[in-house]
Symmetry: C2
Subunit: 343 residues, 2 copies
């Protein structure tokens, strides 16, 4: 373990790949390695990228990697595929757009597949991001395939989350997906040369203004008027200068990833969020909040794992009794919990 840890901290790719695999497979002893590595982590900026399939996430991720690499930053990529074994290969095909970086020794790309357990995906992604942090990545990009609840949870492990949208992706009502606002730090409206880009931006602005009010955020725009057209989001601040105190309002950046338009500004907005997170009280409060969420998620996963391992047969028996209607499922669960806690 110490040998592997040392080699990762020395920036060795093979040891890093091996430990990533161990973490993803959750093999015996992987937690000890993570504990050993932990003191060597903390310098990477973890950037989550999420959005609907087809919004152009992979191309945009590719452009951002390029920009980070131009600045000499070592980049880790955690590509999250919440897939069944038999779709894993197919979705990897989509990742081929990132292939130009596969030859760059300063870019480490690792796919994570869910191992079935709810929440296991985000735990693996967060752990692998830490391994890449220890390896010496200055930026770790965690890219998800879609915007389901599990993927939103993945982005909670990120310092900064970019949500990528594109005009004309289905019903507007449904494109503005559940839970996105709570996780989005920056919005990119990609494919900005397409029809409907202004409508998408407007919908986002409205949502941000409404959300800021509901979530107790800073935007006062929504209070000024009731019509959608009257609601405007304040221009984002501090891209280059000092971070500004107060809640963060997600900026919206229009871009065309295929032509590398707008990606420079996008990167600046992302960096501004990073500066806010590290340099303001509100940002620090946000980091502690995220840390707490991760702690609860970690507790949940560990408890479930321990309960499943220790109760194994008792769970089978309880399921059989419920199916035979010998007991109701609520009392059966109560019994199992009592049994688990008494051990």
């Amino acid at each position: 373990v110490l040998e592997l840890t040392r080699r990762i901290l020395d920036g060795e790719v093979r040891a890093t790949a091996r430990v990533c695999r161990m973490v993803d497979d959750r093999v015996e002893g992987h937690r000890e390695i993570l504990k050993e590595l932990y003191p060597g982590t903390g310098s990477a900026w973890v950037l989550g990228i999420t959005g609907n399939p087809g919004a152009g996430k992979s191309t945009l991720t590719d452009r951002l990697i390029q920009r980070f690499r131009l600045g000499g930053t070592r980049v880790g990529v955690v590509a999250v595929d919440p897939t069944s074994p038999f779709t894993g290969g197919a979705i990897l095909g989509d990742r081929i757009r990132m292939q130009q970086h596969f030859e760059d020794p300063e870019v480490f790309i690792r796919s994570v597949a869910t191992r079935g357990a709810l929440g296991g995906l985000s735990r693996s992604a967060a752990d692998i991001a830490r391994v890449l942090d220890a390896w010496g990545a200055g930026v770790v990009i965690v890219e998800t395939v879609g915007v389901g609840q599990d993927e939103l949870e993945v982005t909670r492990a990120a310092h900064t989350t970019l949500v990528v949208m594109a005009p004309g992706m289905g019903d507007d009502v449904q494109a503005i997906k559940a839970g996105i606002l709570e996780c989005a730090d920056v919005f990119a409206v990609n494919k900005a040369d397409r029809e409907g880009v202004q409508a998408t931006v407007r919908d986002l602005e409205l949502m941000i203004a409404l959300g800021s009010n509901l979530l107790g955020g800073a935007s006062t725009a929504g209070k000024r008027g009731h019509s959608a057209a009257a609601v405007r989001v304040p221009k984002p601040t501090g891209a280059q200068g000092e971070p500004v105190e107060g809640p963060w309002t997600p900026p919206i950046v229009e871009c065309i990833a295929t032509r590398d338009h707008g990606t420079g500004e996008l990167r600046e907005r992302l960096e501004a969020h990073r500066a806010w997170l590290g340099g303001t009280d509100a940002g620090r409060a946000r980091r502690i909040e995220r840390q707490k969420e991760q702690m609860v998620a970690s507790l949940r996963d560990t408890l479930v794992q321990e309960a499943a391992a220790e109760l194994g047969q008792a769970i089978d028996e309880a399921a059989r009794r419920v199916e035979a209607r010998e007991i109701d499922p609520y009392s059966a669960a109560d019994e199992l919990i009592a049994q688990f806690r008494a051990r």
Copy 2:
């Protein structure tokens, strides 16, 4: 509690609505009501309907409700919206297509919103389905908005799950979403008058054939040849007659919900799955398996709830220490777990 229970079992709508609300809000005492109601449940067939936004789920659900109502069956609908508070209203707009049934006293429609906790959504949906079962519904339809992991989990509470797809919904690779095969009992390819319907059906057939092999299912089609064109799914059996022993192969039904085409056949396929579930050994094994999954999910939720309630401040403190890098998150979680189990 006994009074509420009695009124629900008598088929009273107001009491049913009240208890559904209590269950969704997880108010004190709702579990006691669920336990009381349990002996009065078990007669409803729980039908999960899922699929990407835009596939026409609501219209198809509407058609199926119509057919069940024509047969005199009382119908419960649990509409699952994994939404933030501020999108709830918007997504309800989509449900207006079901509004013709709002006036029918034999149709009870109830929306469920997630209460933040991962897994909470599926627990609420399953519990509300049980309340509607007790109220006297012959069929309870659980309809989800999308196909994320949380929504797939919702469908695990269903006896029979219908996955609705439509031609031309984004990349084919990505349309065949993660985890769908494990949960799908019947596929509907809706909007079958659109271009690309044959490609969608073919992709599904291929996926089913591959999946049956990987999952140890019955289909031998995939073993005959390697080319996609050679793989065919066996025709589904037993729609009208006796259920046939052996694993279930999901049939694919083409339909056009807006014109009510194919929905009669769709209903027959769904009923065939119901018959398989109740009348074969493989079906019974499947039911016990599902029961077990629900038991584990219920354990997980209860454990997390108890841990969060009992450890509250300790979690905050641990999060602060991790953020200050005084302890690594793995050791912090270990400490919290030990503390929880020792109480």
